[in-house]
């Protein structure tokens, strides 16, 4: 879009208009009220930046527990642990069951061939 030139004689009155704009700008800057910064403003800003950048600390100092929970709740690790526990439990149970069955069988044989009244 073309700007409409409102000055009828740009060649003659151009310098006057520019000077008038500069003076108006200076007056506007002077009239603007800029409040004074609070004391130690800059220091406060840097402190906030540092706090935002620092890692979050949980109250009580138990971040290791959170880390452990995060580790434990990983699906692959959780599944692997569950599988290992089940296999280990079943193997131990079968081993124990074999021993118990062996003892049961021995007791059954003894009960048949050597009744308690003789022992």
């Amino acid at each position: 879009m073309n700007k409409e030139n409102i000055n009828p004689d740009p060649g003659c009155a151009g310098g006057f208009a520019e000077a008038s704009d500069a003076r108006l700008g200076a007056q506007l800057r002077e009239s603007r009220v800029s409040p004074a910064l609070p004391p130690r403003f800059q220091e406060g800003v840097w402190r906030r930046i540092e706090e935002a950048a620092a890692p979050v600390k949980v109250a009580g100092g138990i971040t290791w527990l959170d880390a452990l929970v995060t580790l434990v709740l990983r699906p692959r690790l959780a599944m692997a642990t569950a599988a290992v526990l089940m296999v280990a439990g079943a193997l131990l149970g079968v081993r124990e069951g074999n021993q118990m069955a062996h003892q049961d069988a021995q007791a059954r044989y003894l009960a048949v061939v050597a009744p308690n009244s003789l022992r």
Binding site: L73, A82, L85, M86, A88, G89, L91, G93, A105, L110
Partner: protein, 161 residues
């Protein structure tokens, strides 16, 4: 309580439950699948083959009626002894006689039992047979030896005092 701690404890409980459940399932399955035969212990413990087991089965079946007969005689003699002892505060001559008869019956029964163990041991390979005989003597006669040994030890202690 802290959320992480709750999750961790839950995982721990779940792990224990998984391990315990698998353990009991394995144990139960194993006990259920094992043979309930009276002679299965012999087969497993002494690694016997079918031919040896067949011979032992025959001996076993021949021995059981004799054993039952002796048990019935011992039970009857015990009953007679109880009657003889009933209401008395001393061991009368009848009770003494019944005790002697009971002891004789038990000795006869034990002798018969040992004879059976010897016959069974002879159907096994020599090493297994020796081990079987030693094991059966330990299991059937060892009980009395332990009792006598413990009683003689306690009597010895008393004498020293």
């Amino acid at each position: 309580m802290n959320r992480s701690l709750v999750i961790l404890l839950g995982a721990l409980v779940l792990g224990v439950a998984l391990f315990g459940g698998s353990y009991f399932a394995g144990q139960r399955a194993c006990r259920m699948t094992r043979s309930a035969d009276d002679l299965s212990w012999l087969r497993d413990e002494f690694h016997l083959g079918d031919a040896e087991m067949a011979r032992i089965q025959k001996l076993h079946e021949g021995y059981l009626p004799k054993c039952a007969e002796m048990c019935a005689k011992i039970a009857a003699k015990k009953s007679e002894l109880e009657t003889a002892l009933g209401g008395t505060t001393n061991v009368n001559p009848v009770a003494q006689q019944k005790l002697a008869e009971l002891a004789a019956l038990r000795a006869q029964c034990q002798s018969q039992m040992l004879q059976h163990f010897i016959e069974v041991s002879q159907t096994m390979p020599s090493e297994q047979g020796r081990r079987y005989l030693a094991e059966m003597q330990r299991l059937t006669l060892g009980f009395h030896e332990q009792t006598e040994s413990s009683m003689s030890e306690s009597a010895g202690h008393e004498h020293h005092h």
